[in-house]
Amino acid sequence: MQRFPCPHCGPRDEIEFHYAADAGKTRPGRQSSPEDWARYRFMRKNTKGTARELWQHAGGCGQWICIERDTVSHAVIGSEALGS
């Protein structure tokens, strides 16, 4: 079992965390084209290597956090609270 660092609770078992999405996506404006909406809604960076991801510490404090993680080695590089 891998341990992930929660910026609020410290290291916890990986099964307490729920993966949500790529970090850093910006919601397009209301007048945006269907292509821009599709890009926001469906397209993924799908990074091979170091990725920044949104996770929720669902089985712990419930907070949404950003985790930096290597998608090839699964090593967790770091985590931070959203807005920090």
Binding site: M1, E14, I15, M43, R44, K48, T71
Partner: protein, 416 residues
């Protein structure tokens, strides 16, 4: 090239197996081809075969970074089925089953297709009602589906947990008799040999490091074995599609995950059909060697690693023991993972792309093996004509911007 037959087997047996020839050549890449297919798994090899056989395009290369069929084609759980909900999917996947049915003869290579059927067990009356709706829809689409009551399920799988006061009891199920399993390596090797016989160059240990463009059009690939020019390029890369597509700026709605599987030690024949449980998230079949071949859902986070992570392994094994307590002292022999490309609607993305000269076959997610013949044929058609096959039109890249999804994530009643 040796044609395989019972007579040849006898002759070689008497000759001490000394007269077999290699099943395919090991060619040096030519400077250019009419078509280059990236990815030497089932989909890439079948696309090459159909290009040569049905479309007469034989100046074709398949480039593969490892060895033929060494990715997901050699790592899946070999299930073949067409029990999909939407008409578009039913047409595509049932074409695949029909092509599989004639494949051993067509390729002169025994893929060991065993149409032993696939059962999905319902664990509540409500789930069985949902199955009734799905079975009816699939039958309208021409798929051979049957709704089973708990007694039918018991007859089909006598070793299933018989208790009624458990969390996931047997409440009936749905069954596709034409579903089954095949020898996955043989599918790759059969297509490879047949494509090679028709002049296709299969180039292994050849990793693509770049895609060449000129005048806004793809003109070839750069590889670890030099630059190879191409009139058209096809991608059949499953979980590794995004890194290659991003070389030409093509964005894709794919997320790569590890899908894991495992096999037990061999047993005497005890399971005569493929069994799946959506409620528990596990499915299994028994191989001809007697091993139980088991799988479950995706691992919990995006990954490019060909090994499964422990929480999902525990899920799969605990689910298996819920269904079959009789397997509790069975040992797991091997466990592994493959990288699958999951699309937002759990349907494939096929055909031409916004990049001129580039064609894709991706997004099969956890179900690529069953689709190898149809997926290869769709890619071959696109590479030969520049346009969609009639059956691949609904699976175009532009369906996301048009919000015309083929949402099998919910429809097929199978975890994707």
């Amino acid at each position: 090239m040796t044609r395989y037959s019972a007579w040849k087997l006898l002759e070689q047996g008497l000759a001490g197996q000394t007269g077999w020839t290699p099943a395919w050549r090991m060619p040096v890449p030519k400077p250019s081809y009419d078509v280059v297919i990236v990815g030497g798994g089932g989909h890439g090899l079948s696309a090459a075969y159909y290009l040569a056989e049905r479309y007469g395009i034989r100046n074709v290369a398949v480039v593969e970074k490892g060895w033929l069929g060494g990715g997901n084609t050699g790592r899946n759980t070999t299930v073949i089925r067409s029990n999909y909900y939407y008409p578009e999917s039913a047409r595509l996947y049932d074409l695949s089953v029909r092509l599989y049915e004639g494949l051993s003869r067509e390729l002169n290579y025994n893929i060991m297709l065993s149409q032993r059927g696939m059962l999905e067990i319902a664990h509540s009356p409500a789930e069985l009602e949902l199955y009734a709706r799905m079975v009816n829809a699939m039958r309208i689409n021409g798929i051979d589906m049957e709704l089973l009551d708990p007694q039918d399920v018991r007859k089909l799988v006598p070793i299933l947990n018989p208790d009624e006061d458990i969390r996931y009891p047997n409440c009936g199920g749905m069954f596709q008799p034409r579903a089954g399993i095949a020898r996955h390596d043989a599918v790759a090797w059969g297509y490879a040999r047949a494509a090679d016989q028709r002049g296709v160059d299969l180039i292994q240990s050849c990793e693509v490091t770049g895609v060449s463009m000129a005048g806004g059009r793809v003109t070839g690939v750069e590889t670890t074995r030099g630059a190879i020019g191409a009139g058209r390029v096809g991608l059949a890369l499953a979980g590794n599609t995004t890194p290659i597509a991003s070389m030409v700026g093509l964005e894709l709605p794919l997320q790569s995950y590890t899908l894991q599987a495992m096999v037990s030690e061999p047993l005497k024949p005890c399971l005569h059909t493929v069994v799946a449980s959506l409620g528990i998230g596990v499915y299994l079949s028994q191989s001809d060697k007697g091993e139980l071949v088991m799988g479950g859902g995706l691992d919990r986070a995006p990954s490019y690693t060909q090994r499964g992570n422990l929480p999902m392994t525990q899920n799969i094994i605990s689910g298996l023991l819920e269904l079959f307590p009789c397997f509790e002292s069975l040992k797991v022999m091997r466990q592994w993972g493959g990288i699958v490309d999951v699309s937002p609607d759990s349907s494939p993305i096929l055909g031409p792309t916004p990049v001129d000269g580039l064609f894709i076959n991706c997004g099969w997610g956890t179900g690529g093996f069953k689709a190898i013949p149809a997926g290869g044929l769709m890619l071959a058609h696109a590479l030969a004509t520049g346009e969609h096959h009639e059956l691949s039109k609904p699976f175009d890249y532009d369906r996301f911007a048009r919000a015309r999804l083929v949402d099998e994530a919910a429809g097929a009643g199978i975890a994707h």
